[in-house]
């Protein structure tokens, strides 16, 4: 028993209507449902009833759930990393801003909050965010890549310099100067040049 072309099209339509978009998964599900329906029709069941029963038995929660499960399995590490990025970003940003206000008001713990906030931001949030940005922009042009790295580099140097400065440690000025040079003569000109080119395009 082999299904007719219009019957296969009908199953394909049901898959697409349910929101299954990954083509390799769609092929698997289409073949599976065809096999189930064929085996049911051999026993005298109608196509429509077999289709309904096959989908209900195979995916009681809907065919889209299979795609959701697939995407979760395929992107599990990325999802976890995104969670870590936003969690670390928010925690260290809160610590940094709290530290800034505490310091401005000359209250205690200002320096500690600022140090933990900035160091955590640089050591956890920046690498996570950098990795994800590069992964999601694999086709990024060289100029864009350079601009991005200049921006991140400047932020890291200035951040380190600031932490060294508030803790009265050596090397603070050097780090701030390097960050300042990279920001003023690298990132900012590259950013505006990029914006100018974009406006022309």
């Amino acid at each position: 028993m082999t299904l007719a072309e219009n019957e296969i099209d009908r199953i394909r339509f049901e898959l697409e209507r349910s929101g299954v978009t990954i083509s390799t998964l769609k092929d698997d599900l289409l073949d599976h449902l065809c096999c189930v329906i064929e085996s049911r029709m051999v026993t005298g069941d109608s196509f429509d009833h077999s289709l309904l029963k096959a989908i209900r038995d195979f995916a009681p929660g809907g065919l889209a759930d299979i795609e959701k499960e697939t995407l979760f399995l395929l992107n599990y590490k990325l999802i976890l990393m995104k969670k870590m990025t936003f969690l670390s970003g928010s925690i260290f940003a809160i610590l940094t801003s709290s530290g800034f206000f505490l310091k401005a008001l000359h209250w205690s713990l200002g320096d500690t909050f600022l140090t933990i906030g900035i160091v955590g931001f640089l050591l956890l949030f920046v690498p996570f965010a950098l990795y994800q940005y590069i992964r999601s922009h694999e086709t990024m042009m060289t100029a864009e890549r350079v601009r991005f790295l200049l921006g991140v580099g400047s932020a890291i140097f200035i951040g380190i310099g600031f932490v060294l400065k508030i803790n009265h440690l050596a090397g603070a000025n050097l780090a701030i100067v390097m960050g300042g040079i990279s920001l003023s003569f690298g990132f900012i000109p590259a950013l505006f040049f990029g914006l100018y080119k974009k406006a022309l395009g």
């Binding site: 299904l3 990954i22 698997d28 599900l29 073949d31 599976h32 189930v36 065919l63 499960e69 399995l73």
Partner: protein, 114 residues
């Protein structure tokens, strides 16, 4: 029939083991074989099989060849060299897990078997 929660985490070991015994299998064939071997107790419903196959393909454990059968594409899965190596790890881990589970939930069985 066993619950979906019990089967989670064992599908990869089941599929890798089956593929190591057969040269190649397609999805429906895998689900039918599992049903047959488990005497109908393991039904790979709820779409658990295909997400697992996609993940194993993405991890390089299995590969597939497409063939047009009965007017649609059928994907025949087979083990890669890495999959063959990993299969032993998965199966061993599952064996160890079952042993541990026995000693926790059914201590009388594990004592007898010793």
């Amino acid at each position: 029939m066993y619950s979906k929660e019990l089967l989670k985490g064992t599908i990869s070991a089941i599929v890798l083991n089956l593929l190591s015994e057969q040269e190649r299998m397609y999805g429906y064939e895998i689900s039918m074989k599992v049903k047959e071997l488990s005497q109908g107790k393991i039904l790979l419903k709820d779409g658990s099989l295909y997400p697992a196959l996609q993940k194993m393909t993405s991890d390089g454990l299995v590969t597939f060849k497409e063939e047009v059968v009965g007017g649609r594409v059928r994907k025949y899965y087979s083990l890669t060299r890495q999959g063959l190596k990993e299969k032993s790890v998965y199966v061993e881990e599952l064996r160890d897990f079952m042993k541990t589970l026995n000693s926790i939930v059914f201590p009388e069985i594990s004592t007898k078997s010793l």
